[in-house]
């Protein structure tokens, strides 16, 4: 089986549509501007449930998986250690990836009606890495919605630049990343990576602003 490789734009749109839909009563005109409650999105919007299972990671190297429970309902099975870990970053990203798999790939996989079907289907996926890349991109778009990151980064940049005490360019970037980590409850690595992504290319714009001594971030590059 070949899993479709989605365009980045398509994935961003699918994630944004999901967020707009589920948060429409809280944010009628935009996507969430702070951390998304990823459990609630998975449970409330998509009807997924969670089952923590001990030592899934230690025994099988599996953080989480998407499957069907005994009633045929979609379920995210997750390693208990990850589920209970006080640092939520990895947990949140894992759940967001499973949500990505559910939104982008579950329709094809749900054709499996028996255990043997499911095993055959799992083993028959030829472009496994593409499926994983789809889910990873979806997770980033869900936890770090581009327009919200852009809005927050612009505000933080202007605030830090105008604030007391002179910061070097690197200090300002580190401070900005740390604040985005807090706002969106994701890892610094995820924030840094998201800042480099198209179409916003925020890191390039921050570097340009620093180099040219701008008080605010320049608009998106065309």
């Amino acid at each position: 089986m070949i899993v479709r490789e989605y365009l980045v734009r398509e994935i961003e749109e699918r994630a944004e549509t999901l967020l707009r839909d589920v948060y429409r009563h809280v944010y009628p005109y935009t996507v969430p501007v702070t951390a998304v409650d990823i459990d609630w999105v998975a449970e409330y919007a998509l009807g997924l449930s969670f089952r923590p299972i001990p030592a899934l990671r230690a025994r099988f190297g599996v953080d989480g998986l998407l499957g069907r429970d005994r009633r045929g309902q979609p379920v995210i099975v997750i390693d208990t250690g990850l589920f209970d870990h006080p640092n939520e970053h990895r947990y949140r990203f894992t759940i967001a990836e499973e949500v990505g798999h559910y939104v982008l790939h579950f329709r094809h996989l749900s054709k499996a009606t028996s255990l043997e079907d499911a095993i055959r289907l799992y083993l028959s996926i030829e472009n496994w890495k593409a499926a994983e890349a789809n889910a990873r991109r979806f997770a980033a778009a869900l936890l770090l919605p581009m327009q919200s990151v852009e809005r927050q980064a612009a505000g933080i940049y202007a605030g830090l630049r105008d604030g007391p005490g002179a910061l070097s360019g690197q200090e300002l970037i580190d401070r900005l990343v740390a604040l985005l980590v807090k706002i969106f409850n994701v890892s610094p690595e995820a924030v840094r990576y998201r800042l480099t992504e198209y179409p916003a290319r925020l890191m390039d714009r921050i570097q340009t602003a620093l180099k040219e001594g701008l008080a605010t971030l320049p608009p998106r590059f065309t």
Partner: protein
């Protein structure tokens, strides 16, 4: 959601929790439960608290008004959940239908072999 049978305490609480806008971990944290312990209560793997004050705390966090219809139902279902019984349809499903993993994420990005995935399925079904 359960069809053709009464909701369990966990299903009832889950419905109210999601309506109130709480994800599982957020809700567990608000009440000071470890997420897996709270999840096990909702899915019926473990029983709800016996302690009246703890139950009240959960009800209040869900926004259930004291002595309302929901309040009575919440407590009735909690009391029922203390009895050792498995609904007939759940027992039937458990015996005949295994949990089926469809897509999984390994820490090293590796795929599991046929035998590894069978072992994993066995393991999950034992612990589910």
């Amino acid at each position: 959601m359960a069809k053709g049978r009464e909701l369990t305490w966990g299903e009832f609480v889950r419905t109210l929790r999601l309506k109130a806008g709480y994800g599982l971990r957020t809700f567990a944290a608000l009440l000071g439960f470890q997420p897996s312990n709270y999840s096990n209560m909702e899915t019926g793997k473990t029983k709800p608290p016996r302690d009246a004050a703890r139950l009240r705390e959960i009800a209040e966090t869900l926004g259930i008004t004291d002595k309302s219809e929901e309040w009575h139902r919440f407590h009735d279902l909690a009391a029922k959940a203390q009895k050792p019984s498995v609904p007939a349809d759940v027992a039937e499903y458990a015996a005949t239908r295994p949990v089926v993993p469809l897509l999984l994420r390994t820490t090293e990005g590796k795929r599991l072999s046929d035998s590894q995935i069978r072992e994993l399925i066995d393991y999950i079904n034992k612990h589910f």
